[in-house]
């Protein structure tokens, strides 16, 4: 027999899966970098509107989130389908927003207390009535910096 004869018989060699972990790790790292940990589960529908003239909120520790929207399907039986305010994992009345902001502000370090921003994450189907009431509450506690959180995109898409 020749020197270069194959050792094996005609069996198909096994497909190497060695690169599979690499691919999965790549995906994993992608998700690790672009996502952040969930700190509260959202119980309201929260499709944000689009806007183009947006500014990025940079420091997470200076933001207080207020969610507004109609409750998701699981909660509609109990809370109805009208837009509600969600503060920290539970539904709240509009009148509680002021107290919540004050409580959150007190938790932050002294030097940050004057630079806090309230991020309003409002569902695009919500009415302005509830937003106006929230804005009044914010003015009462002197939390004047607000950010209407939006997606980046053509604003006219909101109207369709």
């Amino acid at each position: 027999m020749s020197k270069f004869a194959k050792k094996k018989d005609g069996d198909l060699p096994a497909v190497s899966t060695a690169s599979l972990p690499d691919i999965v790790f790549m995906l994993l790292f992608f998700f690790m970098t672009v996502t952040t940990m969930k700190d509260s589960s959202i119980m309201v529908e929260n499709t944000l509107p689009n806007a183009t003239e947006i500014k990025k909120l940079d420091k997470k520790d200076r933001i207080i989130y207020v969610y507004v929207g109609k409750p998701t399907k699981d909660y509609q039986k109990v809370f109805g389908t009208l837009a509600k305010v969600q503060l920290n994992d539970k539904f709240a009345d509009v009148s509680e927003v002021g107290d919540y902001i004050l409580a959150e502000r007190a938790k932050k370090p002294q030097e940050l207390q004057n630079v806090l921003t309230t991020a309003l994450k409002v569902d695009k189907e919500a009415n302005m009535g509830i937003i106006s009431d929230i804005k009044q509450e914010l003015r009462k506690v002197n939390a004047l910096k607000v950010n209407y959180t939006t997606y980046e995109g053509d604003a006219f898409k909101n109207l369709q």
Partner: protein, 202 residues
Amino acid sequence: MPRRGGAPEVNAGSMADIAFLLLIFFLVTTTIETDAGLDRMLPPMEPPEDNVVIKQKNIFTVNINRNGQLLVEDELTDITKLKDKAIAFLDNGGDGTCTYCKGKNDPDSSDNPDKAIISLKNDRETKYSTYITVQNELVAAYNDLRDREAQRLYKRDFTDMEAEYLNSETPKSVKEALKEKVERIQKLFPQKLSEAETSTSN
């Protein structure tokens, strides 16, 4: 006895499983955050001490009704035209004191960008998305004018400079230099957007 076939191959098949486990964990516990939006300042609760008299021609009124229709300066207007109307109003320079304005100098419109005020009013039944679109268009009007001036003075867009100035990763020395420029442009077209209390029409 010496080995013949080199080092034995390590079976890496389970590594993929482990990586998938980690991946799925991250998929369920994290969200893609949207941390951008329209920044606005609310007016303080206490009213100003002395009553300021503002001429009617210096106020650009925008009313949104419950059906999402716009009444701009008592004229029914399509939302796509709002930005151009706002720019024309702000850039008017009616009393001739504004040297950088390129508007029509219409005596019936605003005197000076410094005096021009946009007043936005909405109904309680107005949809939030409509409100955001209007806000976006008004801010866009200011940004367009500011960009124009920034291009003229510094050959750079204002929005670009502001984003760099607000970015926390920008070095301090760059920030100092930018601050002056940003404030100068902001002074040329100060953002005066007042929001009246929501009307409760039936």
